[in-house]
């Protein structure tokens, strides 16, 4: 097995048992389950509320896991000096970075899969308890397989967030890495607004900075297909591939940049 995969396996074993991840996944499942109760208060909108809240919970908790475990991959390892033992072994720094990244991505995919199963169980309960006559008002079936596309794009988003956390943690502290990652994540969801700041009355300087940020930062809006899948609209394969491809490219650039920075770093 290559050094990258061995490191990835080590990260997976360590982070899958991380209490933070446990708690966040548990909290996401709790949110999904409680959305069922919330849905009882709405007339005819129950399935949409459960689908909407469930996807939001999975996405939010996934991002939090990616950030809080992601920054630990390098920044915490450097601060706690656990990195010393590993880097003194026959492994290059680029293998270390790639292994860490793949390990956490795999952890996140497993966590997301657990959340997706919980999500479908809640939806199955709703489907089972709802009379056939009421189901006719639904825009899409409760157990709509289209929802999996939303989960797939959430996983792409988590891959990016992990790469961001890893990138920032190669040169900054845990706190700064977490703050910067969350900032890029939030800005990335409002990327389209950055391009047209002048229409909101922004000054030319601010508009120019906004345009630069638009081109420099990842656009995460195409990854959010919650509204479409909740209303039973189609999400084309082309959209999926384009959105994933552009983010994949961004992830590749971040990993190369992380490696370049990390190769030259002194661990004082």
């Amino acid at each position: 097995m290559s050094a990258v995969l061995i490191v990835a396996r080590g990260v997976f074993k360590d982070s899958i048992r991380d209490r933070v991840a446990y708690n966040l996944v548990f909290f996401a499942i709790l949110l999904m389950a409680s959305s069922y109760l919330l849905a009882q208060l709405t007339a005819g909108q129950d399935v949409k509320i459960i689908k909407d809240l469930g996807l939001a919970a999975a996405s939010l908790m996934g991002v939090l896991i990616a950030v809080f475990i992601g920054i630990g991959l390098v920044a915490k390892e450097v601060e706690r000096r656990s990195i010393y033992s590993l880097l003194s072994k026959p492994i290059t720094r680029s293998q270390f970075i790639l292994g860490k990244y793949l390990g956490l991505v795999f952890t996140l995919v497993v966590n997301l899969a657990v959340m997706a199963i919980a999500y479908y169980i809640v939806l199955a309960c709703l489907d089972w308890l709802t009379p056939e006559s009421a189901k006719k008002a639904w825009e899409a079936a409760a157990l709509d397989p289209m929802l999996l596309k939303a989960f797939a794009l959430i996983s792409v988003e988590l891959m990016l967030v992990t790469a961001l956390a890893l990138f920032f943690s190669t040169f900054s502290s845990t706190f700064l890495s977490a703050s910067l990652t969350l900032a890029v994540y939030i800005i990335g969801h409002f990327s389209d607004d950055l391009r047209s700041l002048e229409s909101f009355g922004a000054s030319p300087v601010v508009s120019t900075v906004g345009r630069w940020l638009y081109y420099a930062l990842p656009n995460l809006a195409p990854l959010n297909v919650t509204e479409a899948v909740v209303h039973g609209h189609q999400v084309s394969l082309q959209h999926m591939l384009l959105a994933s491809g552009s983010i994949g490219l961004y992830v590749a650039v971040l990993l190369v940049a992380s490696t370049l920075i990390f190769e030259r770093r002194d661990f004082k």
């Binding site: 061995i6 396996r9 656990s82 033992s85 590993l86 880097l87 072994k89 004082k268």
Partner: protein, 321 residues
């Protein structure tokens, strides 16, 4: 071929955020360690011991100079297959068990899972980790982590082992076990380079030592050479002697300790011939118990080196000129 060789190894940092100032962590360190040798790298806190080890492990990069391990530059990843390293105050992955950690590291060296398990089991036995090897490392005490750290440094049967303060956090029994382990490694032909400020360990284990003070090499050599002919006095233990006799010879002594029941320990300067004094004491009815040269200890030597460095002006603002 030397196990370890450094030539003019230097590391300068900058310190301070607002007004960065250059700081000399290590200056022109040149030393060689032979294969199968136990080499003590000694110095007070902040002397540059850990910096040197980090340079040898490529955890930091030198400002100038070069370092080789087993004839290969330290940047060569392949040489790391043949070495082991225990960092100072090691820390590992909280959620892995000791067994899993060792198997993980064994796999990094390319051993199969089965071989990794066998190595983990043997090494954890060797460092005295029992059934608790199946506990997650976050439940381990400092001393137990230190033992796991030593085990992981040996997972690949290294030819050269670097131990940064290996006795740190260990109880007396643990220290003795680690001393025995280091000697076993030496007997197998493994070079051991260990940094410490605990001089008794170095004295008990090392064939050669280097003393670094404030980033500079203050002394290096075989312990037998560094401390040879450095007897600083004679210790004469005599029995059946009256206090009045002791009072009479006292001006010629540098120290007297009454041991009770007519026994005295007398310290004579090297300028006084012990035979003459002994015959005087025997003539008054005294009995010789023992006569030994009082040799300088490594601690004496170490303190002298640190003080000499200070007096020679090596005590300086550790800023690069």
């Amino acid at each position: 071929m030397d196990a370890i060789r450094t030539d003019g190894l230097t590391k300068h940092y900058t310190k301070g955020f607002w007004r960065p100032r250059p700081y000399v962590a290590l200056e022109e360190l040149s030393l060689q360690v032979g294969q199968g040798e136990v080499f003590g790298f000694l110095g007070p806190n902040g002397a540059g011991k850990t910096t040197t080890l980090k340079l040898l492990m490529q955890l930091i990069f030198p400002t100038s100079g070069r370092a080789e391990i087993l004839g290969r530059p330290v940047g060569d990843v392949s040489v790391r297959r043949r070495i082991g390293y225990l960092p100072e105050n090691p820390y590992f992955y909280d959620n892995l068990t000791a067994e899993e950690l060792l198997i993980y590291f064994a796999r990094v060296f390319g051993y199969s899972a089965q071989d990794g398990r066998a190595r983990a089991s043997r090494l954890l036995d060797e460092v005295g980790i029992g059934p608790e090897r199946r506990f997650q490392l976050r439940k381990f005490s400092k001393g137990m982590i230190q033992r796991v750290g030593i085990a992981q440094a040996l997972v690949n049967d290294p030819e050269v082992v670097f131990l940064d303060e290996p006795m740190s956090g260990l109880d007396p029994l643990g220290r003795r076990e680690v001393r025995e382990l280091i000697l076993r490694l030496r007997d197998k032909g493994c070079a051991v380079f260990f940094s410490s400020h605990v001089l008794s360990d170095a004295e008990a284990l090392c064939s050669r030592v280097a003393v670094v003070v404030k980033g500079r090499l203050a002394a290096t050599g075989r312990l037998s050479e560094l401390l040879a002919n450095r007897a600083r006095a004679w210790e004469l233990v005599i029995a059946n002697v009256n206090q009045s006799v002791i009072e009479r010879i006292k001006p010629r002594l540098t120290g007297v300790t009454a041991l009770g029941e007519g026994r005295f320990s007398l310290e004579l300067p090297l300028t006084v011939a012990p035979e003459k004094l002994l015959s005087e004491l025997v003539a008054t009815g005294g009995h010789l118990v023992s006569l030994n040269p009082v040799r300088e200890t490594l601690e004496d030597f170490f303190v002298q080196q640190v003080l000499a460095s200070n007096e020679a002006g090596i005590v300086r603002e550790r800023t690069a000129s």
